[in-house]
């Protein structure tokens, strides 16, 4: 289906898919009007992919910030249900995701496993959405006559450079932990394999995730990196590939507004270590509240 080649063996002409970006619950083309050609290993054209601009990124951050209040204000149970719904939707479209992974270079077996793990991961974090708070919160036995407790709160708007290596499972993992905890995000899809991200935005769109909570861009990492790292209204940035220069740049640029730089260097998203509530807590802030206890 995503193949751009016209198939002359069939009697009807295929409808080719236009791959768009996803901002604020809508599917615009990039404002820049630019694109890059995504080709398969055999050199076949798979599609024209939007080359998002910094304006697209700024729009996406605006959408994410706008959606933050509503999303972080939803009950944990509600967020949990919406994540579960994401899993359901992904399951329903698993054939399409498998096919896209295969044309982007995976073997059918690998694709099958990655899609299955991605669905399971969503269900896993759907379960955590209304539980991590209990695991990580505390009531603190202060010496004075005060009721004192500590809870987690979402960090805010999270910029995510989706893993280049694990274009579906990695993507799903970093998005799930971010939104499970009430954050909103702007994601840059894997440059070499963006199809899963684009299709996943359609899954998000049909899963009761409010517009703006997840925004997905495609484009050149090199071109957009500084936008991601320097934007003053982004609270955290997540990166999980191996490039040490990029890691240094992220950490250095994060000083602009003391962003939380969350680096999962070389993470294997299919490993057992890639699944834990600690990933949720990485994009959370810790709030302590004091109140006097009267007599």
């Amino acid at each position: 289906m995503p193949k751009a080649k016209s198939n002359t063996t069939k009697s009807r002409l295929n409808i080719q898919k236009t791959y768009k970006i996803y901002i604020g619950g809508k599917f615009p083309r990039t404002e820049s009007g630019r694109y890059y050609k995504l080709k398969s290993a055999d050199g076949d054209l798979l599609g024209n992919i939007c080359l998002s601009s910094r304006k697209d990124f700024r729009n996406a951050v605006g959408a994410a910030r706008g959606a933050f209040k509503g999303w972080s204000g939803k009950s944990a149970f509600n967020r949990s249900q919406i994540l579960y719904r994401l899993g359901e939707m992904l399951e329903g479209r698993s054939a399409q995701f498998k096919e896209e992974l295969v044309i982007q270079g995976a073997t059918p077996k690998q694709a099958q496993a990655e899609v299955a793990s991605s669905i399971d991961r969503l269900i896993y974090y759907a379960g955590w959405a209304d539980k991590y708070q209990q695991v990580f919160s505390s009531v603190n036995p202060v010496a004075s006559s005060h009721f004192n407790f500590t809870i987690l709160e979402p960090t805010g708007v999270v910029a995510i450079l989706a893993p280049e290596k694990s274009s579906l499972l990695g993507l799903v993992s970093v998005i799930a932990v971010t939104i499970a905890g009430g954050n909103t995000c702007v994601v840059l899809a894997a440059e070499s394999a963006p199809l899963s991200a684009v299709t996943f935005s359609e899954v998000i769109h049909s899963s009761d995730v409010p517009g703006g909570v997840v925004n997905i861009l495609t484009g050149r990492r090199k071109e957009l990196l500084s936008q991601f790292t320097m934007h003053m209204d982004v609270n955290a940035i997540v990166y999980s590939d191996n490039d040490t220069e990029t890691i240094s740049k992220i950490k250095r640029d994060s000083t602009s507004n003391v962003k939380r730089a969350i680096i999962y260097k070389g993470m294997d998203w299919s490993s057992a270590a890639a699944e834990s509530p600690y990933f949720i807590s990485d994009v959370q802030e810790t709030k302590t509240t004091w109140h006097p206890i009267g007599k």
């Binding site: 603190n140 004075s144 500590t150 950490k251 250095r252 003391v258 600690y278 509240t289």
Partner: protein, 504 residues
């Protein structure tokens, strides 16, 4: 007495008379001086660096003076650690980590930390006096807040040493190695405790630098550490200024940097270690909103405002430096606030009656005065209490507030770190939340109301790491402290404070 005065004023308010009278403690009766004795205190003329369990000469032979900010007299000469000294300290810490501290059973590690806590308690008075002499804070505060909290911090974390796996379900946390720590001058001893206690409990060894203007209690703590028999090199305490701090930050054999100080310096540190694997936690500046709703218990709230901004001369990163008062109670709150300010005694920090001690340094006094000038020139209404300041030397500032402040004023945006309050008013809860959160900082906030539901609505929506409801500036070793946004990341205190010093 005070109550009667307040009553009288209420009456005159009813008559529509101008209310200029204040609680005047100087006419009729006054406080006799009640100075704390310094007889039993021993301060040496000269201090070396505490490296590998011993006080040693700095390699370049350089020393600098630390003065008493209340009289500008020299208290002692203190060593300036060079890069070479920092390297020596890191090597000592690494050796102690490899050979002793990481091999010691956690239970034993905990017992050493308990020992430090106990000795600090025994020597509490000495610590309080020296803290006051060196930093200018009031003896009452040093005695009742800084020193007991510092000892309590060691007590609290000592007990964690052999229980770390309970703090992180599903994980087996490991020490990081050598921690490099840099602390500020506003709570010298307490910050030592906040840094050293969790680092040791988690199995790390430490190189720590105290602030340039307040090194003495850190060196006294070195004596305590010797007395406790802590293995050599586990804690290394060095003194110096910015260059010494930079040498710690840039040392390649340090695994963790913990910094408390200004946001500007925090950003430099974050940037300097960007290309390394050093773990970092930053506790940076703040510009906290202290919010008084119209149903607040007004008298308690006024006390909370005073404590929020004038505690420790306002040298507090979480100070309630932006006051937001709901419009219909603004007049009475400001009137009572001015009255209460008038009763504050600014003077000799060693006097037990003193409420506001000396500003920590000439430099800081200049900064505060600069902001007072800015506040005036930006058009806010300036008000200071009429209290007498000590004659002669020392650095002093009267409790100050500005009315008619707007969000765009620099005194409402930038951290002043002094006894200067910027007052704004608001009508609705939505409005004040918007204003309170409209700052790059997010360290702390205060809310005053008698309605529980209202309080929790606001504490939930304020974007800050520590929220005090109907109280302010309270601290406890079991209570995590730290900021959102540009106020830094990582927590100190409580279970959450452990993760700063562990591989999880």
């Amino acid at each position: 007495m005070a109550k009667q005065l307040v009553k009288k004023k209420k009456k005159s308010a009813g008559n529509g008379a101008a209310i200029d009278s204040a609680l005047d403690f100087n006419s009729g009766w006054s406080y006799s001086p009640a100075p704390e004795s310094t007889d039993h205190i021993e301060i040496k003329d000269k201090y070396g660096l505490f490296i590998n369990g011993k006080f040693v000469r700095p390699s370049k032979g350089k020393y600098f003076a630390t003065i008493n900010p209340a009289n500008e007299k020299k208290l002692a000469m203190v060593a300036e650690a060079s890069e070479e000294d920092v390297d020596k300290a890191v090597k000592a810490a690494r050796k102690a980590y490899n050979n002793v501290w990481s091999r010691m059973p956690a239970k034993e590690r905990g017992k050493y930390i308990y020992r430090i806590a106990r000795i600090m308690q025994e020597r509490a008075r000495e610590f309080a006096v020296i803290e006051t002499l060196d930093g200018g804070k009031t003896i009452r505060e040093a005695r009742d807040v800084d020193v007991p909290l510092a000892a309590a911090h060691f007590f609290y974390y000592a007990g964690w040493a052999d229980k770390l796996e309970y703090a992180f379900p599903g994980k087996s946390p490991q020490a990081l190695g050598v921690a490099g720590q840099i602390i500020p001058w506003n709570f010298p001893l307490l910050m030592m405790a906040w840094k050293i206690a969790p680092a040791l409990a988690c199995g790390n060894t430490v190189v720590i630098k105290s602030a340039e203007t307040t090194p003495l209690t850190s060196l006294k703590l070195a004596e305590v550490i010797q007395e406790a028999g802590l293995p050599d090199g586990v804690v290394n305490i060095i003194t110096g200024a910015g260059a010494t701090g930079a040498a710690i930050v840039n040392h390649p054999d340090i695994n963790k940097i913990a910094f408390t100080g200004s946001t500007a310096v925090g950003k430099i540190i974050q940037s300097a270690i960007a290309g390394t694997d050093k773990k970092v936690t930053l506790e940076l500046g703040g510009k906290a909103a202290n919010i008084i709703l119209d149903d607040a218990p007004i008298d308690q709230a006024v006390e909370g405002i005073i404590n929020g901004i004038y505690f420790n001369q306002g040298h507090v990163c979480c100070a309630g430096s932006r006051l937001f008062v709901q419009e219909d109670v603004a007049d009475i709150v400001v009137r009572k606030l001015k009255d209460r300010m008038e009763s504050l005694i600014v003077g000799d920090p060693m006097d037990k009656n003193t409420d506001i001690g000396a500003i920590n340094s000439k430099e800081q006094l200049n900064t505060i005065n600069k902001y007072i000038k800015i506040g005036k020139s930006e058009g806010a209404s300036f008000y200071q209490s009429s209290c007498e300041l000590p004659s002669g030397k020392g650095f002093w500032c009267r409790p100050t507030l500005f009315l008619n402040v707007s969000q765009s004023h620099r005194i409402a945006q930038e951290e002043i770190f002094g006894p200067v309050l910027a007052v704004q008013t608001f009508r609705t809860v939505e409005e004040v939340l918007e204003k309170a959160n409209n700052t790059p900082y997010g360290l702390s906030a205060g809310v005053w109301s008698d309605k529980g539901a209202k309080i929790f609505n606001m504490t939930n929506k304020l974007r800050a790491g520590v929220i005090w409801a109907n109280t302010y500036n309270k601290f406890d070793p079991s209570s995590p402290f730290g900021g959102y946004k540009e106020s830094g990341f990582g927590r100190e205190g409580g279970l959450h404070g452990l993760s700063a010093y562990l591989k999880i």
